[in-house]
Each structure stands twice: as structure tokens, then as C-alpha cells.
Symmetry: C2
Subunit: 401 residues, 2 copies
Amino acid sequence: MDTQPDTALRPDPIDEPARRASERSQALDPKSPVARFSADTPLLTDAGIELAPFQIAYQTAGTLNAARSNAVLICHALTGDQYFAHTHPVTGKPGWWETLVGPGKPIDTDRYFVVCSNVIGSCMGSTGPASIDPATGRPYGLNFPLVTIRDMVRAQLMLLEHLGIHDLFLCIGGSMGGMQVLQWAALYPERVFAAMPIATGPRHSAQNIAFHEVGRQAIMADPAWADGRYLEAGTRPAKGLGVARMGAHITYLSEPALHRKFGRRFQGGSAPTFSFNADFQIESYLRHQGLSFVERFDANAYLYLTRAMDYFDLAEDHGGVLANAFRGTKTRFCVISFTSDWLFPTRDSRAIVHALNAAAAPVAFVEVESDKGHDAFLLDEPAMFSAARGFIDAAARARGL
Amino acid sequence: MDTQPDTALRPDPIDEPARRASERSQALDPKSPVARFSADTPLLTDAGIELAPFQIAYQTAGTLNAARSNAVLICHALTGDQYFAHTHPVTGKPGWWETLVGPGKPIDTDRYFVVCSNVIGSCMGSTGPASIDPATGRPYGLNFPLVTIRDMVRAQLMLLEHLGIHDLFLCIGGSMGGMQVLQWAALYPERVFAAMPIATGPRHSAQNIAFHEVGRQAIMADPAWADGRYLEAGTRPAKGLGVARMGAHITYLSEPALHRKFGRRFQGGSAPTFSFNADFQIESYLRHQGLSFVERFDANAYLYLTRAMDYFDLAEDHGGVLANAFRGTKTRFCVISFTSDWLFPTRDSRAIVHALNAAAAPVAFVEVESDKGHDAFLLDEPAMFSAARGFIDAAARARGL
């Protein structure tokens, strides 16, 4: 295992379509350090498959202290990645959580060593369906094993051990990242000093599964998807993935935010064109969201990660009783929800809090008043920042940091 | 104008693709009476196009009284049709509003003459994008003019005059049907004695436009859509239309209803299959909704009718003041909303009620407690039935029926 790019481990492409596919697969590779795990250290997935070899791409900020007690793990959301505080190599945009993380910020990189890794199954350098299957020399496609939130956490643990980190001062994340936080606290309570699940829930709701299924069907309906073999076919299921993103994007916002931002305003005029052009600003905005997403994300990875979220049901893994997931824990929790989040509404966070109460775990709960919907956790939300700062500072004092 | 099927008016198909297209176009034609309007009586649309000739398919129940004072117009929703109390010719299902309409029902066919016509732009016998353009002998496709809610109402008025009906005892409908009810009351107040807009709003919200746009993009992304020329191409954009329907269907329900009906239950077992099969019952249900919809609906008609809803903004048509749409009206209103309807939430109905109050119009407002979401207006909702019965009976007494 090393952290330098190393293409020598990849098998030689066996033919021209495979070479093209490999190039396309590489194209999404980030400029991140990578931890490689060989056939001797497979990832045993919930599906019962041993994934090996595999690699995890990550980014860090700050410095690990001598006691190795100041590590923070940030868990990213469905379409997020490890570029939490670093310019994104594809979009050129600032890190997605620079509002929260940095010198003097609530997650203070002058005090903490912050790690964020691309989840297993994604497409920004960690092994996923766009990676080359060593058994065939071609991209995995749908031969990649289904992964779960628990598999993501297991892979993160392997990365941390690779980095010489035994336990976390703080584990934090929103949405799918929050699911990972809960899974970390349930699976490795002794390794998590403080946990902050944001805008998330203990399981994916029927409605959320339904929205994900529509997105997956949109991708699979695109002939360019080619049964998942588009990298070899030299095609791009951009239309299907774009439609999936457009639909999902609506669920990340809120009706009041859409109304405030776009209302019924027309593009470049005050009258309808009586056509199917993007007459309304909201249409133009959504189309742009779809188009820009397909530039940075792999369609199969989208299938896999939505599936991982759908399967997440922490209570089900603990005899149907969510509190059982946290019995005896010493982890301290801060749970955050947003009033206008209808994808993971406050009642989901309350279910987490009630379970933590039942398990006698220390927990703070903040419902942030916001009209920005689910994506509020990624935005400038002063009430979230001050809750995070208060909780993290208190935890740091308790940890002697 | 006559009410018997008459294919002689259609131009001869000019070639083989046109003939095939014409057959497919006919295939969706219902077994309904049809009112035909010739080149002398065009429909002047909001887009500024004179549509002629055109036809309106309709169904009736009950008997028009001698005074012609007992006519009820039912306005159907986006994917509805004229089969409100008649077995559907494609699906074989009972009429979509048989719960509300029939002998002894709130809309009592022993007392009232009930009419429901397929809206202009749809695909169940009224002229729409799947109809043959007399100028070319081929289906209109996207050469069909964009129609608005107001155009639908104008065409309904022409139908009613054709049937010898000058004014309506009652105009009633849900969702897009409710938009037509509001438009009727605004456009022809002296012709509407009582109006019942249900689960609707005075304009389409940014979020609703967004959902529609995703559906349209899903259809247009399907190569089988063939730029709208699929009837001639002999293809069917079934996948795109299916995805559009799946996404829309989620918005017609509610999270509590989905949770109660499906929860996270697995198909035929208690464990995930770790695949992209329809593992969850909700996935299987949605796929079925998509598949069955494409059997009975035309993809281009879906584009046109969603667009008509998006354009609807009654206040905008009246100087930005909704109350201006109803000034001086003598129509009596009953507005109904459902607590779990998030597509047309109660606040939309309240906006209608406030405007009617400002216009000094007589209005009753009932918010029905229901967890069934937007589609509650189509379902067995006793509180809606009793509100409708009370309002309609009182109106009948006032009308001397």
C-alpha cells in the first residue's frame, strides 16, 4: 500500500475497446492520494463478495497530532467527493465544505487533522463500477458488487488504519454522509469520540427510494447506457443521467427556495414563447444542473450509490430497534436537521434522537430554521455553523485537545 | 357538426408512413361521441393560431331538463379523460369519478345532465398532437399549436353550445381540472352558477414546473421520441414516457401514504437481492405505473398538457391581482384541498379563497384531512363527498332544481 499514483498495478488493456474504456475510466480519476489494498486485504462486502484489489482516494487538511487524537473524518454525500476543502479537479470550484472547514472555521484545520475519502463505489479515484476489473481487464460495469453504507464505512476504517489513525475525534457528514456517520457510531462506537449526522435519517424512506428508482430507470432507459457497458461502447448515457440529476435536484431544494429564486420568471422576457424551449428560468436552471453533472459523474456509480442509500436501514440491522444500534455507546452526538428539508425531514432526525435517548447516549439536537431545503447542509447556514462550533469545541475540551 | 364518427373528413393518407401513423393515431381514439368544428369555426388559441378543423370527444350521463338549467361540466386532470362514469375503452377500468358521480351520488345523474370532454391537446378523441394535420396528411407532432387552460375552456364552451347548453349549473374538477374550473369562472362568470375547484391552485408553482420539465426531458431524451415524429417513424417513446410518469406519480401521492402502502417491504422476500431488480415493493409499483400509462397515453399530448399547466397563472392574466379575475361574479364557489397534497398544497387553495373573499364572491372552503396526497380527489374520501353533496344540494335549491 502506498499513497502515490501507480498505474503499474493495472493490468494491460487487452484490446482496443478495453484500452478506450480504460482511458475513459482514468479520465475521472482525481489528483488525490490513493491508498491501495491488495488481494491479501480484500473488502468483504455485505453482498458476500470479496472486493480485491481496491483503492481509496482521499484528501486531507491540517496535521495529525503526536497523540493521533485529533482526526476528523468527513463523510461525503451521494454525488460528493473527497474535495471538501480543495479545488475540484473537474469543475474548478472551491471545496464543497469550505464554509465549515478551514483555519478558524468550526472544523478548524489549525487544530484538527481532517480526512475525507471518496466512497467505495463512487468515481473520483476510489474503486467503483468504472474501475478496471482485474479479472477481465475491462471496466466492472454492473459486475461491480453492490456496496452498502456499511461497506463504505469498512473501507474508510481500512484507509484510517493505513494512515495510522486508530480512532476519530469527530465523524461528520450530511445526507448519505450522515448515514455513514450513524453507521460508524453503530459499528465502531469505541473509535468515534463525537458524531455529527446532519440532514439524514436512520433509513431511506419509501418516497426517497421511489425518487432514486426513477433516476435509475432514466439512466437505464438511455440506449447509450448500453447495459452498463458504455465505457467499452464508447457511448455516454448523458441524457439519462442528466434527467436523473434534474429530478433529484428538485428534491434537494424546497418549494419556498425555488419560489424565491425563480418563481415563474421567464427567461429573457416577460411572455411565454408557446414552445418547449426553456421558457421559465427554473427550466433553464434544471437543464444546466443536468448538463454540468454528467461532466463530473459516472452513470453506473450513480446507480450503485443510490442503491446503497436505499438499502440503508440501521434499525433493521439491529433487530428492528434503532436504539439497539447505540446501546452502551460513549460517543457524544449532535444531530442537525433543517425545517424545509423534505427529503430527510426533521422527523427522521427526531427518530435518531429518540433512539439515542433510549440508549442513554449523550445527544444534542438542533433543528435549523431554513428555507433552503435538503442542500442547506452545504450552504451558508450560520445557525448550523454555530451549533457545529459549539458542539465541536466542547467535544475538543472533553477530549483534552 | 355532428356527433357520429366520420372518417370521410380526414384527408387520404399520402404515403405508407403517413398511413401507418394515421392508424396509430386512430388507435387511441375512443368510442365517444365527437363534436366536429369546421374551418368556419376555428379555435383561436392564446398562441395566436387558428386551429381548424378540430373535434372534441365527450361523454355524458343523465338528462338535460327542459329549461336546460341542470348541466354539469366535469373538467378532467392532466392524464384523465372523458370516461368519468363509463368503462375506459383502453384499460377496461370503471369511470374515474364514479365515486362522486352517479344515481344518488353527490353529482346525481338522476337530477343533473353531466358532460365531460377530452381537453383539446389530449389523445382520447379530441384533436391533439397525435391527430392528423389536414395541411400535411400526417400527425401534427410538434406542429400542433401550444394550447393553454383558457384554450381548453374555449373549446369546452363551443362543445356546450353545440349541445344546446348556454350555461352551467356546476363546473367541477380537480388538479388541471380545477384550473379549468377557475378559468371558466373568470372567463364566463355569467355562465357558471356554481364552481368547485379541487386540489388545485391559481398558478403552477416553480417546483411543479420543475417536475413537469423533468418529465418532458425524459420523453425528449428517448431516441424513440424521434423529435416528436414517432408515429411516422413507427417507434414508441415508451421508456421516456414511462420515466416521466413514474416521477410524476410520486408527486401525486404522499410520503405517509407511500410508507403505509409499501414502507421498505421487499418483493417476495425479506432480504435485499443486492441487484438493480425491483427489490422494494415501491419500485415494482412505480415500474407498473410507468408501463401501464404508456399503453393509454400519447407522449406528445403529455408534453402539451404539462406545458398548458405550467403556463397557467390566473392573476398574471388580470394585472397581477387574483381577485380581479372574479370581481362582480355571482358564481358561488366551494374550494377543496387535502392536508397531505404537496403538489397543490392548502396554501394554494387559500390563495383562491382569499381572492374570492376580496372579490366579495360567495365561497366555502374545506380542507379535507387525508394522508392520500394529491390523488385524494380521485379516491374514496367521505369528507370530500359530504362537502360536495352539501354544496351542490344547496346550489340546486338556490337554482330551483
